[in-house]
Symmetry: C2
Subunit: 249 residues, 2 copies
């Protein structure tokens, strides 16, 4: 019987993988990887069979139960099985379902943490997610459409000095904004939208809660991260100054 | 003029450093490191001068302004200056103050994210921090003594299916418990206390909010992380079963 490693691939850049993750990939026999894991990352596992099991919102996905069964079967035929998951495996990754299925089948597991995208986003723009007097906590969430209770939590958190990192698509932006405003979050609260964090295709847009719905027109193909909070105030101000300076005359 | 890299050291284990962080350390001329960064991690920077600038609660610490000035001065004498910070540099690390001081002095900076301790803790116990139907978000916080507003936020979050990770000492446990109960968090909510996450000295204790004050008697020398939330229910149950099985007769 082999062992299954749930390895965090990090946000996208190959060298944001951990040393431990890279070592395990180097000796992997088979790697089951998410849609967001790129070819460069897979090159860290040259000996392994590479099996895509992508799940991306809006795109036909592999059923979670099928993934679980693949992992169990693979562990019966290979020594070193890797489940490579974007970001950190334990954050919004349905890792528990995989771990439980493997445990039920008596298969040994190990989890290797990864850099979660919000932290790589913070490093990229050089704005810390906590700051004395501005933000004393961080919330990682996925917006659940129509979930008023969750919305009210985030709204309360933003109002009382938290930074919120939403692992989401921009298609939910309009509903989110309406809900935040309903719960009393000021319209001038800064919002940072980041696509393809840590990769050469990285793009970002700084806006405010009031102006976020216009971002619906912002075309994007890659994974998007939305960060909300007062720590980003200085980015909004910098952009405003740059716009003024660019005006003719 | 040199460049200053703020590098996340991760939770403690050397091989939870990123490939990028390790590469930068290998060519570093001087490394300013926190009290929680061990000798093994420093061995990744064999060419560098190693300067401790430890800040630990309760122990005499180096003033933040002095650290800022050290970094600026070092960048004027060395090509590659590393500020090595435990966990991720942008989470509770006062990184913004260092970045701002360097920026004001016209010094180039780069931030390399690290594995934040809460994610390594989750990997270690193999319990995901989010799970469908149990936890839909994660909050990273430091308890601010007597900060009723923050307490009320966490309490609301725990009640509405969030996992809370507190970067704190156990000496604040009693006050925290009283406050959580006052805000209506059930006493049987699971609490996981972890010391020296990811290192050979790692220790953990599973308890509940009601029983956490007894943990004050739990002696610890290393950094402690407190995780609260329903995702840890199964750990409390497992421990209860083990205790029953250990009873004589």
């Amino acid at each position: 019987m082999g062992k299954v490693y749930l390895v965090g691939a990090g946000p996208g850049a190959v060298d944001l993988m951990t040393l431990r993750g890279a070592r395990i990939l180097a000796s992997a026999d088979i790697v089951f990887y998410d849609a967001l894991v790129g070819n460069e990352l897979l090159s860290l596992a040259p000996r392994a069979i590479h099996v895509p099991v992508g799940k991306r919102s809006g795109i036909a996905s592999t059923d979670q139960r099928i993934i679980n069964r693949c992992l169990v079967t693979a562990a019966r035929h290979h020594q070193c099985v890797v489940r490579l998951k974007g970001g950190d495996p334990m954050v919004f990754g349905r890792a528990q379902e995989e771990l439980d299925a493997l445990s039920a089948a008596g298969i040994d597991t190990e989890v290797v943490p990864g850099i979660t995208t919000a932290l790589a986003a913070s490093a990229q723009v050089k704005i810390a997610l906590t700051r004395r007097g501005t933000s004393r906590s961080i919330i990682f969430a996925t917006p659940a459409i129509g979930d008023g209770e969750a919305d009210s939590d985030w709204a309360a958190a933003i109002k009382s000095q938290s930074t919120v990192a939403l692992y989401m698509g921009l298609n939910q932006a309009e509903r989110l904004v309406q809900s935040m405003k309903f719960h009393g979050v000021p319209g001038n609260t800064p919002v940072l939208v980041m696509e393809n964090v840590s990769t050469p295709d990285a793009r970002q847009m700084v806006t405010t809660l009031s102006e976020l719905p216009e971002a619906n027109n912002w075309r994007h193909d890659g994974p998007v991260m939305v960060l909300i909070g007062r720590v980003f105030d200085r980015m909004v101000q910098t952009e405003a100054v740059e716009l003024l300076e660019a005006l003719p005359g």
